[in-house]
Amino acid sequence: MSETTVKQTILEDGTEIEGAVKSKCGIVVSGQIKGEVTAPTLTVTGSGILQGKVKATQLSSQGSLAGEIEADSVELSGSVSDNTIIRANTMEVKLSQNSGKLQVAFGNCELQVGDTSNKKQPKVDPVVAANVNGNGHHSEAKHGK
């Protein structure tokens, strides 16, 4: 039987990185990253701190998040610091069943999850739509009388 190994970048507890980190494989943060972080998957463990501009497809955090976070899906516990914005298509926070212990401690922050435009889709005039040319400009439609 063959064994497949998933490549991961692991930042151990006690390690700090400041600057831009861009990875094609997943990153596990048990230490601290401050700066711009881009990765397909990001896992922040209980001791991890992720601070800055973060872009990921999947983000799972049990540690501390701060800054501007963008991800397709977010699973959250731990803490979210002041002045943090999290934008995601989906977010999951499990409600703590243990009274007195919070799943997530939120500071002053903002959550933008899913499409909350609260607007109906405008109807598209099929004639106009058909006359939009390749440059995105409307070409004049000629109609007979």
């Binding site: 977010m91 799943q103 959550l111 899913g114 499409d115 909350t116």
Partner: protein, 425 residues
């Protein structure tokens, strides 16, 4: 100077010629026969048209500001969008006339006959309609703030969504009239007769309604907070969802009333049980007012259920500690206070728009919560909850102020959020 003299005008009328857009200011037209004349967009400002015959005339968009139309015959006239601000129409005959979107601000229509007339969206602020006949009149969406309608006959009139704040309806007859969602806040309506009227969702807040008659009226979801109700007749009234304090019913005349949601009279309450039945709609602490008779499955103490299809606007609701509240209806601009450990669930059909929820309760959202508040002036839309849980189909647009102990949040995958979160101050 006017375009035509009185004789020239009468000559044109006899030949059925149009006077559209004519400037007729300063012409004396009293007692003239102008039946069927076209005066569309004509300028008749301040003209004396006393006892003038304008039957079936076209006066749409005409300028009739301050015109003197006392006892004029305007039966069947087209007066859409006409400007009649300050005009004197005392004793005029306007039966069947179309005054839709006309401006009658400050006009006097005392004793006028308007039976069957159309006045939808008319501006009638401060107008005097004392003793006027308005039977079957269409006044939907009309602005009648501060208007005088004392002794007016409005039976079977349609006053849906009309603005009648501080209007005077003393001794007016509104038998069988439709006033769905009309605003009568602060109106003086002593002795008015609302027998058999449709008054669903009417705001009577702070109105003087002493000795008014509400027999067989549909009062469901109407708001009587701070209204004076001494001596009112409520026999046969439909009471589901009425907002008031229980002590407001101390001095009323009622043989029986209908507390059913559908108002179908299947569960009539005897007059002697009226107050106790109303109390059932009050919340646990009995201070402010809650609404709704209980759904069959929600009948235990402290549980409130607001069913699908109901709409509650501008209400203040307080739920005592450990209350259980389930909302499947629509709340607009309501202020909700939750006692310690009260549990508020917005069900899949529930929608709260422009509302504020305050208190150390548990909030479960499976429907929609749309804050739409001026946060700087009014504060966050949710203040101090112990728990905020948003289910997979939940939608939350607003802001939340956490208590000192912080809120326990839960978000199911699939929920939609546009949420600002603040720590305790």
């Amino acid at each position: 100077m006017a375009d035509y003299s009185r004789d020239e005008i009468l000559d044109k009328v006899s030949k059925k010629e149009s006077l559209e857009r004519a400037d007729l200011r300063d012409v004396a037209l009293d007692r003239a026969n102008l039946e069927g004349v076209n005066l569309r967009r004509a300028d008749l400002e301040g003209v004396n048209m006393e006892e003038c015959i304008l039957k079936n005339a076209n006066l749409s968009s005409a300028n009739l500001r301050d015109a003197y139309l006392v006892r004029a015959n305007l039966e069947g006239a087209n007066m859409q969008k006409a400007d009649l601000e300050g005009a004197n129409l005392e004793g005029a005959n306007l039966q069947g006339a179309d005054l839709s979107r006309a401006n009658l601000e400050g006009a006097s229509l005392e004793g006028a006959k308007l039976n069957g007339a159309r006045l939808n969206y008319a501006q009638m602020e401060l107008a005097n309609l004392g003793g006027a006949s308005l039977e079957g009149v269409q006044l939907a969406n009309a602005d009648m703030r501060d208007a005088y309608l004392g002794g007016a006959k409005l039976s079977k009139a349609n006053l849906q969504n009309a603005q009648m704040e501080k209007a005077n309806l003393e001794e007016a007859d509104l038998t069988g009239a439709i006033l769905t969602e009309t605003n009568l806040r602060g109106a003086y309506s002593e002795g008015a007769n609302f027998t058999n009227a449709v008054l669903e969702g009417v705001i009577f807040e702070g109105a003087a309604l002493g000795k008014a008659k509400f027999a067989d009226a549909d009062l469901r979801h109407s708001n009587f907070r701070d209204a004076k109700l001494a001596g009112v007749t409520m026999t046969g009234a439909k009471m589901y969802g009425v907002l008031a304090k229980e002590d407001q019913w101390d001095d009323i005349i009622v043989d029986w009333a209908d507390f059913t949601e559908k108002g179908d009279g299947k569960d009539n309450t005897k007059g002697t049980d009226f107050v106790s039945r109303f109390k059932q709609m009050l919340n646990g602490n009995g201070q402010s007012v809650s609404v709704s008779t209980m759904a069959p499955a929600a009948n235990e103490q402290g549980k409130r259920f607001f069913g699908k299809g109901d709409v509650l606007r501008n209400a203040t609701l307080e739920f005592g500690e450990k209350s259980i509240v389930e909302i499947e209806s629509r709340f607009e601009n309501c202020s909700i206070t939750l006692g310690e450990d009260a549990k508020l669930t917005i069900g899949p059909n529930g929608e709260l728009k422009g509302c504020q929820i305050v208190g150390a309760g548990e909030i479960m959202i499976h429907g929609r919560f749309v804050g739409e508040r001026r946060e700087e002036e009014e504060g966050p839309s949710i203040i101090g909850p112990k728990i905020l849980f948003v289910g997979k189909d939940g939608f939350v647009l607003g802001s939340i102020q956490q208590p000192k102990q912080m809120t326990n949040f839960g978000f199911e995958k699939g929920c939609k959020l546009s949420l600002k979160i603040y720590k305790a101050e």
